[in-house]
């Protein structure tokens, strides 16, 4: 049974890494129209994530692929139950992905505006809906032997929406800090000021979420039975509070790492609370999809363990290398060089 536990942990980890990485580039897509005052500033903002967004998004495909390989039954039901939100997320991600490449290719204001809208909506919608989807998973989905008894509107309940707002704010804060790391001068100052303001909203949403979780979900049961697990949400609180101090102290890089820790620990708070469920049933726990009743065979899990043990460290190594190559701030000078390759 250990392999299922390992893969449950990896499943959570892949989602956490996805939120940590794509979180800031989704956030930049949402913030760009608001903190970019000129075309040049908008381009600078887009180019802060230019070299890395694509690699970040692949963590979503990895999370999806791993769900399919390790927990095929969950994969089958999760995506057919969450059909509408998933398709909306996919359309958003398609529009967004293309807009990065297409936006700068034609010198026309209406062309750029079209792709700006695609970038904005394509970033906002997934940020919000991933939160809504996870909020609903934390609560449990109305499913039994007959299948799923809900619709898109069922998902838009108060707790789901609160989770959506929490994710959105986490990503926006993450992005504002990222921009303050990756830009200089006025843009940097504007981003830092925004990060400082947004932080209060994030605190409010996080506090509300922690409290409402006790009423709307069964997540805390696992924590009560093994109190040591409270270290994870405690780390989230510390990282969140530390983030504020670091922003005020103009320690942007440290604040960004703090934000990374916050996102990962928040995700894991949910994942620990869910265990062993991947998707609990809100109607009858017998129909919950768990790491044990929905998993692939031991043989497949062994093969997959071997594959990720070899390849994920390699992936992490070259992705870290990417961040090192592109660690410099993006400036107007970089973008006016036609040989820079910038968007």
């Amino acid at each position: 049974m250990e392999l299922q536990m390992l893969w449950f942990g990896l499943w959570g980890l892949l989602w956490a890494v996805y939120f940590m990485l794509d979180g800031f580039d989704l956030g930049v897509g949402i913030l760009a129209p608001f903190i970019g005052k000129s075309e040049m500033e908008k381009r600078i903002l887009i180019n802060t994530v230019g070299p890395v967004w694509d690699g970040n998004e692949v963590w979503l495909l990895a999370a999806g692929g791993v769900t399919f390989a390790a927990f095929p039954t969950t994969y089958a039901y999760m995506f057919s139950y969450l059909y509408a939100p998933l398709l909306i997320i996919l359309f958003a991600l398609i529009g967004r992905g293309v807009s990065f490449e297409f936006r700068g290719k034609v010198d026309s204001d209406s062309w750029r505006k079209t792709w700006d809208i695609a970038l904005f909506l394509g970033s906002l919608v997934p940020a919000l809906l991933f939160g809504v989807a996870f909020g609903n998973i934390f609560q449990g989905l109305p499913m039994d032997a007959q299948g799923y008894h809900g619709s898109l509107l069922t998902l838009l309940n108060p707790y789901g929406l609160l989770a959506g707002s929490l994710f959105l704010l986490l990503f926006l804060e993450h992005a504002a800090i990222w921009v303050s790391v990756k830009t200089e001068g006025e843009l940097e100052a504007r981003a830092r000021a925004l990060a400082a303001k947004l932080w209060w909203l994030l605190l409010l949403a996080a506090a509300g979420f922690l409290v409402l979780t006790a009423f709307a979900t069964k997540l805390y049961i696992n924590f009560m039975s093994s109190p040591a697990c409270f270290a994870v949400p405690a780390a989230a609180v510390i990282a969140l509070l530390g983030m504020k101090m670091l922003i005020s102290g103009k320690k942007s890089v440290a604040a960004f790492f703090s934000s990374c820790v916050t996102i990962v620990t928040v995700t894991f708070t949910g994942v620990i609370g869910l265990f062993p469920n991947l998707i609990p049933s809100s109607l009858d726990p017998r129909y919950s999809l768990t790491a044990f009743n929905s998993s692939a065979s031991q043989y497949t899990l062994k093969i997959m363990t071997l594959v990720v043990a070899i390849f994920i460290p390699i992936v992490i190594a070259y992705q870290v290398w990417t961040y090192i190559i592109f660690k410099h701030p993006v400036t107007e000078k970089d973008l006016s060089d036609p040989d820079s390759g910038a968007y």
């Binding site: 694509d54 390989a69 390790a70 994969y75 089958a76 996919l90 034609v106 594959v307 390849f311 070259y318």
Partner: protein
């Protein structure tokens, strides 16, 4: 229409649309990598300009290939939940490996390649584009391994009401998978090569940047020639795999109704599914089909009548698609050989008739790829996993026709718009030529007066 039909239509449309962009990516990534390698080796700046010009067209196309691929991975869950549940133990693994081995490589190094011109050494930059090309081909390897398993399931047992993996090596090393992989990527290489030859031919005809485009043409022609010749050998291998493992598909490809020894191929035939015979058969090549199937002129080839009607694929569509694909490949061989010879003899710019043919031939390899998919996927029907699971049993139980129709309409409209934008950009930048790379100041958004 019911949810099943709509789900099938949705998969067909999204997969075929995705496969408009992937083949070009497969081929042109290697051509660009070769050009950049030539630049690093020779230091000749013209190769750098070639890398940048063709790289720009590569990028426009790459973006759509990536984003349209995402929807396919998730469709197995949304529309084909019963399939995903039944085969997930086997089918999920290659998909997960594709993401962790190929997509990461492709996407991460793409970022490095686009933005890294000034940040890393020339050599490292050339390595990055090879990594992208490798990632693209590896991605094809794993997705086609998964697809090959649907065509010819191996290495599994039926257990707990589903197919469970017992031999990963059998799945990963299946002859069907490797012949299919090579057959498909070589098709992609031809798309890339014909794209570069076509655009180059256009500019050679207009006398633009002659040296630049003659060099580009020659690199692409050499690549096309190698791909074509390899494709003939691999196509033969793949056809034998199909004959061995999917007799109904093979019989439909050649519209063979009766089982017989020493079966011929008819150059032209008109199948009639209602009467279970061909209404017209002319120009037979004796024993050819038996040779094709088993490299033995007297081998027995099974006919469609050996199988119940409910287990036969749509014959006419499979047959016509296969015939056209083979015919086009023959044309590609002729064009590639001529292109390479004219290029070597330096007579290319005088052969205006040939250059015109090359411009209009650009869409043909795309067509051949789509026809290949039709043969592979239509020919497998009514099975989603050959001999194991029917397509009609694979669809999600809880999706409604309304949901499937709405998402299908969404895809159709959305993909249509994206295709228009993409084609617009490809045409614009292709026609523009390498003006920017050559240092001519051209306002972007306008075509060069030729």
């Amino acid at each position: 229409m019911d949810a099943l039909l709509l789900a099938r239509l949705q998969f067909a449309i999204t997969a075929m649309f995705h496969f408009l962009f992937v083949p070009l990516t497969l081929g042109i990534s290697i051509i660009v990598a070769v050009m950049e390698t030539l630049y690093v080796k020779t230091g000749n700046v013209q190769y750098l300009k070639m890398t940048k010009f063709w790289g720009k067209l590569f990028l426009i196309n790459f973006a759509l290939g990536v984003v349209t691929g995402i929807t396919l991975e998730f469709q197995f869950g949304t529309n084909w939940a019963e399939y995903a549940r039944y085969v997930g133990d086997i089918f999920g693994a290659p998909l997960a490996i594709e993401a962790s081995v190929a997509f990461f490589l492709e996407s991460t190094f793409m970022g490095i390649w686009i933005f890294g011109w000034k940040r890393i050494s020339k050599k490292a930059h050339a390595v990055a584009v090879w990594m992208v090309a490798a990632g693209t081909s590896l991605s094809a390897l794993w997705i086609l391994t998964a697809n090959a398993w649907m065509q010819h399931p191996v290495g599994y047992v039926i257990n707990n009401g589903r197919a469970e993996l017992v031999d990963f090596a059998a799945v990963a090393l299946s002859g069907y998978a490797w012949s299919k992989f090579l057959h498909t990527v070589l098709g992609g290489y031809l798309v890339g090569a014909f794209f570069v030859m076509g655009v180059s031919a256009y500019h050679i005809l207009k006398n633009n940047f002659l040296d630049f485009f003659k060099k580009s043409f020659r690199i692409a022609a050499a690549f096309a020639l190698m791909s074509c010749l390899a494709e003939v050998a691999v196509g033969d291998w793949h056809a034998r795999e199909v004959a061995r493992t999917q007799p109904t598909k093979f019989a439909a490809m050649e519209t063979i109704w009766e089982t017989r020894q020493g079966a011929p191929i008819y150059i032209f035939a008109i199948p009639d599914e209602a009467t279970e015979r061909n209404t017209m058969e002319i120009l037979p090549v004796p024993n050819m089909l038996s040779i094709l199937a088993e490299h033995d002129p007297h081998a027995t080839v099974q006919g469609l009548k050996d199988f119940p009607v409910s287990e036969r694929p749509p014959v006419t569509l499979t047959f016509v698609s296969f015939r056209l694909m083979v015919g086009l490949t023959t044309l590609f061989i002729l064009l590639s050989v001529s292109g390479y010879v004219f290029s070597r003899k330096e007579t290319l710019e005088k052969k205006t008739w040939f250059l015109k043919i090359m411009v209009f031939s650009m869409p043909l390899p795309y067509l051949a790829c789509q026809l290949g998919w039709l043969v592979a996927e239509v020919g497998r029907q009514p099975w989603i996993v050959y001999g194991l699971m029917k397509t009609s049993d694979a669809v999600s139980k809880n999706i409604t026709a309304g949901q499937a129709a709405a998402s299908l309409a969404g895809f159709a409209i959305f993909y249509g718009l994206l295709a228009v934008a993409d084609i617009y950009l490809l045409v614009k930048f292709s026609k523009n030529g390498p003006a920017e790379e050559m240092g001519h100041s051209m306002p972007s958004g306008r075509t060069i007066p030729l």
